[in-house]
Symmetry: C2
C-alpha cells in the first residue's frame, strides 16, 4: 500500500505534450510497484486552448489545480508568426498567473554541465550551480502603465516591487540550499549601484540571513558582471540568488553554457506548501519541431526529479537524476537522431 | 592652420589615468601636424577626488565640462573593500549624472572579435555587431523609493520610465547605423511579454521607424533569448537596439565573448550635439592592478576612435582603428607582458 500522489498535468502547446508524455513515463515507472500510487489529471491550457475557447486560465480551473499535490507543466506559447493570439497573453494570464496565484516564490533552476555534453564554451570547467530566482515580485508584478499611448508624448512605466517579506523568504531558501551543498556558497546578483532601493533591500537581507548560516560564505555581483563570469568562469558559482528578471536572464544564459535549455529543468516552488508547486522544463513550446518527435524530453524528465525531491521522494528523485546522467553521458553527440520517446525509453531502461 | 578640438579629460580612478595617458598619446599623434590642434583640459573627479573633497560632480564643474567639444573618460570607482565611500555614489552622482545631464541618449558599444584574440566561446564565428543602448531612460532614471525601510514590512520599488521621445530617437539612430553597415539588420531586444507597457512602446516604435528604412531588416528577441544567441550564435547580430538596463547586461556579455571588456570601447553620445559626448572604455577602474602599468589601454584607445568619428574626423578614426586592429592581430597571447605604455607606443608606432 502506497501514498497517493495526485499530480496535475498541463502538457500545453507545441512540443509540450510530447516531452510531458516521456516525463509521465518516468514518473510512473519510478514510483510503480513501490510505496506510491500516481494519479494524473490532465488540464488543457495554453495557446491552442485559447484559440478554441478564448480561455487563458479560468478561475474554476485554477481552483481545481490548487487541490493537487504538484503540477507537471510542459510548455506554452503560439508560433511566433501567429498573430491571432495577442502577444504575451498566454505567458502572463496563464503561466505567470499560475506562478503568482500559487505563490511560487522559489523559481529553482539548476545548471549542470553533464559529462558528454558539449558546452559552447571553450573551457567550461565543471559547471554545477543552482539559480534561486525569486518568482513572485520584482519587475514581473505587472505593475506598469502608459499615458498618451500611441502618441509622440507617450510615457510607459514598469514598476519593480520588492518586499522584505518576499526577498527574505527566497534568500533564506538559497542559504538553506547552499548549506546542504558541498561548496556552501551564495552569490547575490543584482544591480544595487543603479537600482538603489531594490538593490539595498536585497543586500541588507542577504547580510541578515547570512548570520543564520555561519557555514555558508557569500558574495555579491552586479548582473552585468555576472554575465561575464558565466562566460569566463562559470565553475565559480554554487548558489545564485537573484530577482525575478535577472533570474530570467541568467538562467537562459546558464542553460546555453550547459549545452542548451533542452536539458534545463526548473521548479516553481511554494516552500510553504500552501499551494502545489509546478515543475517545468525551461525551454518553450518550439512550434517549429512540434509533433515530430524531435524534442529532447530530458529537461522535462529532470523536472520530474525536482518534483519528486519536493514531494519528499528523495530516493526516487536521485534514481531519476542518475538514470538521466547515465543516459546523457552515453550520448555521442548532443543532437542525436533518436525520437523523443526513444530517449524517454532509454532513460526508463536505465531505471529498471 | 587647423581646427581646434577642445577635449575634457576625466582620467578618474585606478587604472583610469594610465589608460587615458595612452589614449591621449594616440589622440595627439593622429591629429598632430595635420588639420587639427588638440586642447586638453583635465578634470579631477572620481572616488579619490571624493575622498579628498567630498565632491562628486559640482555644478560649476558640470557647466565647465559642457563647454568642451567632447569628453575622454577613464574609469571611476573605489576598491571593492573600501567602505569609506557610500556604495554606488560615484557611479550615480558622477558617471550617470554626466550621461543624463549631457543627454547621452545613444550609448554605443561595438562588439568585435579581432583576429588573434581568443574568445571564451568554442566556435565564436565572426563577431562584429554594435549595441545601441538607450542612455537616458529606463530603470536608470533613479525613480525608486522605499517605505518602512529596514523593517520586516519594507517595500522597495524601482520605476522604469520610457518615453516615445526617448525611445524613438535611439531607435532611429540604430536604424541609421544599420543602414550604413553591410548587413543592414536591427534586432530589438526587450521583454515585452512581461514588461508589457515599456515593451510595446519599444516594439511599436521599431515598427514605425523601420518604415523610414526599407533597406534595413529587423527582428525581435526577448532579453533572455538574446543571452542564449550571444553564446551560441553571436555572428547573427548586426545592430542591437535595447533599453538602458538590458544594454548594460548584454554589452558586458558581448565584451566577454569578444575577449574581455579590456578591449571594449564605448561612446555616450548626444546625437543632437546640444552637449559634448563622452567616450570611455567599458571596463572599470580595476583598483587591484592600478598604478602598475598592467592595464590594457586598447579599449581607451578604441574609444578615441569613436570620439574622432563623432567629431567628424572619419579618416583619423579609421586610422586609429586600423592601427589597433593591426596591433591586436600581432599579439601572440591575450595577456602579454608589455606595460600599458608599451602597448600604447606600439599602436602609435603603427600610426606613423
Ligand atoms: C515565458 C516567460 C514569461 C518566462 C519568464 O519570463 O519567466 C520564461 O522566459 C521563463 O523563464 O520561464
Ligand atoms: C558603473 C555603472 C553605473 C555602469 C552602468 O550600469 O551603466 C557600467 O556598468 C557601464 O556599463 O557603463
Amino acid at each position: 500500500m502506497g501514498n497517493l500522489i495526485d499530480i496535475a498535468v498541463i502538457p500545453g502547446d507545441g512540443i509540450g505534450p510530447e516531452v510531458v508524455a516521456e516525463a509521465v513515463k518516468v514518473l510512473n515507472f519510478v514510483t510503480n510497484g513501490g510505496k506510491n500510487e500516481i494519479k494524473l489529471t490532465n488540464y488543457k491550457l495554453g495557446a491552442e486552448h485559447w484559440l478554441e475557447t478564448g480561455e487563458t486560465l479560468p478561475e474554476e480551473t485554477l481552483e481545481a489545480i490548487k487541490k493537487h499535490d504538484a503540477i507537471l507543466f510542459g510548455a506554452v506559447g503560439a508560433a511566433p508568426g501567429d498573430t491571432r493570439i495577442p502577444s504575451g497573453i498566454i505567458e502572463r494570464e496563464m503561466l505567470l498567473k499560475l506562478r503568482f496565484s500559487l505563490d511560487h516564490f522559489v523559481n529553482l533552476r539548476p545548471a549542470k554541465l553533464y559529462p558528454g555534453i558539449e558546452s559552447p564554451l571553450a573551457n567550461p570547467g565543471e559547471i554545477d550551480f543552482v539559480v534561486v530566482r525569486e518568482g513572485t515580485e520584482g519587475p514581473y508584478v505587472g505593475n506598469g502603465g502608459s499615458v498618451r499611448t500611441g502618441t509622440a508624448h507617450e510615457i510607459a512605466t514598469e514598476v519593480s516591487v520588492n518586499t522584505a517579506y518576499g526577498v527574505e523568504r527566497v534568500v533564506r531558501d538559497a542559504f538553506r540550499r547552499a548549506s546542504e551543498r558541498e561548496r556552501k556558497h551564495v552569490t547575490l546578483v543584482h544591480k544595487h549601484n543603479v537600482l538603489v532601493y531594490a538593490g539595498h533591500l536585497w543586500k541588507r537581507t542577504v547580510e541578515m540571513v547570512a548570520q543564520e548560516f555561519p557555514e555558508v560564505a557569500h558574495d555579491y555581483l552586479h548582473v552585468d558582471a555576472a554575465t561575464i563570469f558565466l562566460t569566463t568562469d562559470p565553475s565559480r558559482f554554487d548558489v545564485i540568488v537573484t530577482d525575478n528578471l535577472f533570474g530570467d536572464i541568467l538562467t537562459d544564459q546558464a542553460g546555453a553554457i550547459t549545452g542548451g535549455i533542452g536539458l534545463a529543468a526548473s521548479g516553481n516552488i511554494n516552500m510553504d506548501r500552501t499551494y502545489p508547486s509546478m515543475f517545468e522544463p525551461v525551454h518553450g513550446s518550439a512550434p517549429d519541431i512540434a509533433g515530430q518527435q524531435k524534442a529532447d524530453p530530458t529537461a522535462a524528465i529532470l523536472s520530474v526529479a525536482l518534483m519528486l525531491e519536493h514531494l519528499g521522494l528523495t530516493e526516487e528523485a536521485r534514481t531519476v537524476e542518475q538514470a538521466v546522467e547515465k543516459e546523457i553521458t552515453s550520448r555521442q553527440e548532443l543532437t542525436d537522431n533518436r525520437t523523443t520517446s526513444e530517449i524517454g525509453d532509454a532513460i526508463v531502461a536505465l531505471l529498471a
